[in-house]
Symmetry: C3
Subunit: 538 residues, 3 copies
Amino acid sequence: MIKKLLCALLYGLLAPALIGVGYAAPSEPDFQAVKERYYKEHPGKGKFGDLWEPIPIQKYWDPKDFYKPPATVSGEVTRESCVTCHQAVTPGAFHAWENSSHAQLDRIRNLSNGQDPRFYKKEKLAEVEKQLVKQGLLKEGEPLKEVGCIDCHGSVGAKAIQHDKDLKMPDRAACGTCHTAEFAQAEAEKDQEWPQGQWAKGHPSHAVDWKANVENLIWAGMAEREIAQGCDQCHYQQNKCDGCHTRHSFSAAEARQPEACATCHNGVDHNEWENFTLSKHGTVYFTQGKAKWNFEVPLKDALTKGGYTAPTCQTCHFEFQGEYSHNLVRKVRWAFNPQTAIADNLHHPWFESRKQAWTQTCAQCHSPSFAESYLTAADKGTIEGIQVEQEAKKVVEALYKDGLLPGQKTNRPVPPKPEQDAPGGFFQLFWAKGNNPSHVERVYADMWEHDLIKLYKGLFHANPGGFTYTEGWSPLLRDYTLIMDENTKLREQAGKSAATGALSLASQRTSDEGDPARWVLGSLLVVAGTLVIRKRKP
Amino acid sequence: MIKKLLCALLYGLLAPALIGVGYAAPSEPDFQAVKERYYKEHPGKGKFGDLWEPIPIQKYWDPKDFYKPPATVSGEVTRESCVTCHQAVTPGAFHAWENSSHAQLDRIRNLSNGQDPRFYKKEKLAEVEKQLVKQGLLKEGEPLKEVGCIDCHGSVGAKAIQHDKDLKMPDRAACGTCHTAEFAQAEAEKDQEWPQGQWAKGHPSHAVDWKANVENLIWAGMAEREIAQGCDQCHYQQNKCDGCHTRHSFSAAEARQPEACATCHNGVDHNEWENFTLSKHGTVYFTQGKAKWNFEVPLKDALTKGGYTAPTCQTCHFEFQGEYSHNLVRKVRWAFNPQTAIADNLHHPWFESRKQAWTQTCAQCHSPSFAESYLTAADKGTIEGIQVEQEAKKVVEALYKDGLLPGQKTNRPVPPKPEQDAPGGFFQLFWAKGNNPSHVERVYADMWEHDLIKLYKGLFHANPGGFTYTEGWSPLLRDYTLIMDENTKLREQAGKSAATGALSLASQRTSDEGDPARWVLGSLLVVAGTLVIRKRKP
Amino acid sequence: MIKKLLCALLYGLLAPALIGVGYAAPSEPDFQAVKERYYKEHPGKGKFGDLWEPIPIQKYWDPKDFYKPPATVSGEVTRESCVTCHQAVTPGAFHAWENSSHAQLDRIRNLSNGQDPRFYKKEKLAEVEKQLVKQGLLKEGEPLKEVGCIDCHGSVGAKAIQHDKDLKMPDRAACGTCHTAEFAQAEAEKDQEWPQGQWAKGHPSHAVDWKANVENLIWAGMAEREIAQGCDQCHYQQNKCDGCHTRHSFSAAEARQPEACATCHNGVDHNEWENFTLSKHGTVYFTQGKAKWNFEVPLKDALTKGGYTAPTCQTCHFEFQGEYSHNLVRKVRWAFNPQTAIADNLHHPWFESRKQAWTQTCAQCHSPSFAESYLTAADKGTIEGIQVEQEAKKVVEALYKDGLLPGQKTNRPVPPKPEQDAPGGFFQLFWAKGNNPSHVERVYADMWEHDLIKLYKGLFHANPGGFTYTEGWSPLLRDYTLIMDENTKLREQAGKSAATGALSLASQRTSDEGDPARWVLGSLLVVAGTLVIRKRKP
């Protein structure tokens, strides 16, 4: 530690926080307080709940609000009968559980070799037992024997439940009963406040992703509920923990591998998985990591005992100043999507300190100079993307304002409530009818929600072909050309039409419409900001 | 078994068939009968065979019809010389074979430990020997010594062949000589009949994929034979078995892993591989499966001896009511692509019973209630996609009928025989000339053949971002906006043109063309169904 | 060897070179000569260097020209203190190095078992020591003890350096000091000359990829330097070796796996990674390779000691007539992109002999007949793609020549210097302003740079759905339809406009504009080749 301190000082002021805290001392959060807040701040159906009814599958995405036990199995089931019966009827679930830590507490308790990568679980088990004693769910000194079906689907320590009355699907608080530290850490994401109000308090984060889902206007308003529930399939982290720790292994080793993040963090709106995969970080993971690293060790030991020679999603995003936690927003800067309200404030201390924290993260392997240079390039590259997107935005908004979009006056149904019409809005990615959105609006929505985000994500995750070419910059420009073409065509056509008097669509345009110079200036026009694109920000 | 029965009953009526048959008792199909039918129903060049000539590479895709031994190696080659020579000239093929079961029959025969995951192969070997005795290819009681080059590329048990005369590339029947049960199972796919004639008998399936290929109109008609043979590279399963059991390992363990399906089941028209990869099933496979599961065990033992904690392509699609077989169509419902003829008949017992069979499949790990809810949501979500696609279809067909497509009257070559012109047809995905197809037709073809299929496949394979956003729903709407824009523009333009008299393109349109209200109604217009989109259905 | 010879002769004349040389005898290149040429031919900032200034991160992409040690750490650091300090401050880099061959030279030297897959490294170490003696960096008979931080970041064998003065980031020549054979092989790529001048000498290759980068017109000219440096993140192989041998493991085993190529060789302009992944080669790699192959063995032993049963990127592209080297261009034929200048010369001996060399490569596992048939089909399929692309090219160029592109006369800024305006040029993939490029030009640029390349790459890497459907042929046609539609519309509109006199855009068009027959002929028009598309060719 002294060596580390001396070297860090020698290494310069860029890395003071390397003198970090390692693994945080086991905190002792107040379970009751965390749980009460959890339920209090949970939105349930949310403020648009009167506009939609849950479909059956949604009882699994938000069990707290929608789950009811099936009537098909009635009567009392005991701790033992749960297991024996489900061994027969759902053997996959049984075998996963049977080989999990939950079913092998004694094996963990009896680990004597500190070199066993799972040795840390022994300490974790003691922490859990202490927590259960505190809650009155375990007697002082009594060892927790196992975590069986009934502990999670009934209640901790129950001997029997009524299958058709008591059966529940565990929520965050259920897991948090034992895993209180992780529950409290994850819930702490709600405390994040943005310095210039770029996002509402706590947003965006896993801790409020269900709220962001049900209070999203088009999600609440769209008629196709089976499509809408597809959003829930990722946006349920606020509700339960099996998004990362899949049933019924609940394996920490699994959750430490990037594939655990991939189901949600891929694709057109945030291609983190693809970026990691195609970065050099990914190369090392897939060639060396899969063959040699030990994912059983906790994240704090990844580079040492774990043998990691490259980062994973988890080693960077769970870390903050050398400490690892289930609060993943402590280094968030650009968050979900690049926007001017962030670009314009990067020099604010809130953003600066987070950039410094990132530098430390990268500097576990790279020099601070490399890290700082890379992060700065990524910031600037992101801003270069915003400039293209903003130019297109003004063009699309002006077309809307001028009533020139195809079908705008003749065939533009309004979106379903609570959504309101707007050009290039988020809703236009998930709803369309007649000429709403016009194609050019939809293309603009793709620009800000897809191209620009992928540019930003590709830059920060070091996927070079990704952000320059395959995704990001080059597609951003392709969409830009379509918008500029369409603008020129629609305005020329309006000018011609006005001249021939065949249509009055462009009556509000002035006579300078025919002036070529006007179009050269077109992209520089500042349109009054009254037409706000409805982004995801809740 | 009794326990399983009792629990299943307790578990309710949803899962009666869990009292399944496990691994089907080794059937003893009549090889000669299966073989005769195989050749009889094989289409060879198919009914459009006079329109195309095979290019050299196609002798490998359909060896039965096109393969001729090379003249470069002449004279007799013995069982031994095949091996020694190919060890030198094609060492990759030799080493793969050398480490395969085919070259190690004695090792399999001598397995004494029933715990060895390959132990089941001992029984399989006995089954093969019995089959060979039946065919007169092995003496009663004589052990099969090895399966060498000559057994497959000449004939079973041959001592020598004429390399330039007798050499053959094995077809399904050649593999079926030993692997008769699997051959018979795979061929049984041809027996499937659709209750409302949605597809021709046996279609779609691996067992008739070559027929579907050579009798596809644009495949037979297109001039670019080197592009067309790209289709063959997947559509040859009817011809040979190395699509899944790759040369020269023919490894069952390899064929049990999802990557074995990936070469054909990926991409724009059926992205099963991407969906599996990005589902939680995929996460578990890539994190736990690759590290710990034993792919040597047969599928029936996957969850138990194999340690599987999630499904693979194979565990779900080879299974039917607890039995595993090479007949993969026993639970098919939506098949290759969503269509109204299926959507409108889902309550028919044929579809209902298959949904129930799927529920049982999912219920190996999930509750029947979860399975049923999920499958219902997937059905309904698929239908929601069909509705968008059908609306666009009517618009495109009306444009075609009204002669309003760009260049329709001036630059629309007819497609090559035996194809016939139609708006938004399958052929327009693989052929284009002048203004056939117009861009809007091609976009519509992408809607029904790509977007809608990916929506459906993403839903059923539980890839949430896939079906809502990256593929499926959101791209379906993007294409929809382009079609609606184009419709409005072409009809407005036709109206204007009619007014100015400059073009007579729209002469058949009535004077209500200029009425804005008309376009609001446009998408509701029911166009007479005389313009049939030429789908893949053979 | 005699057996191999006899069999090869028996096997016919197609495979004479199978009597290859195995692993080339360790060459003894002249390090000084190679190094001098390396620096002499290195372009530094290149011929457009006055147009751009490096941003900070670029000091890592071209350290030779831009790297300066940080001022934050001053004073002398010793061989030992480098290690101890960096163990604390960059533990990830330290641990990677600690487990690398560089830190374990004695372990390699003491290998006694010739069966150890790393045994070949013992010979390699002796070769390195001999090289160092030759350069006066090691005494005759003195064993090289380790390769530590200081040897690469200071100078070989140094005891101490001034951290703020002497610290360097290693370039190709630094690695080549020890790894001289590989350095010389890699540099030999510069010697390649194309028979008809399709590419400049040495291009395209890793050995000149930095030159190709900095002398690319739009790279040099574009204002967004943080986007431009994204190109550098792949185009730095000319500068350093860690593109394949990642820091600080520098693992040969890692570099032998396809993922090592994936970071650069993926995506829209050359989807080799996707093609391999989705080919049967990939299937075998991911199922059998990842589980069983030994990547520690050198490539020449891959099929034998390594147990490979399928090729990797490396086994095919490092090989030439049985010999493996870091010169990867010895079998290059179509190179980066398909073009008529190659298509028209495939029967030239230069191309023919390379095709034969490829046949030998494939014939390690496949028959020469299969290999030859496949390669011929891939050639012809590529040419079929070129025909579609060339037809579209003529249409776009004619629109440009006729001044009919949207906004061409009113809102078409010129691209930044040194770029010059042209229709459908490479620059239009990375730069856009106003109506330059028009959407139709950008779509054409996507055709030749993306669709056509992916068609070609998919064909040659045996990804069937890739080249026919998901990428390649079908997208090529989709883009074609957009171009043909736009051509028809723009010309019809110009005709109409001319008729009404509203715009003079089309004044140069003749009166046959209205003749439908004209458009049927449109695609056959031969446009004078004066408008040259600016491709990547330097």
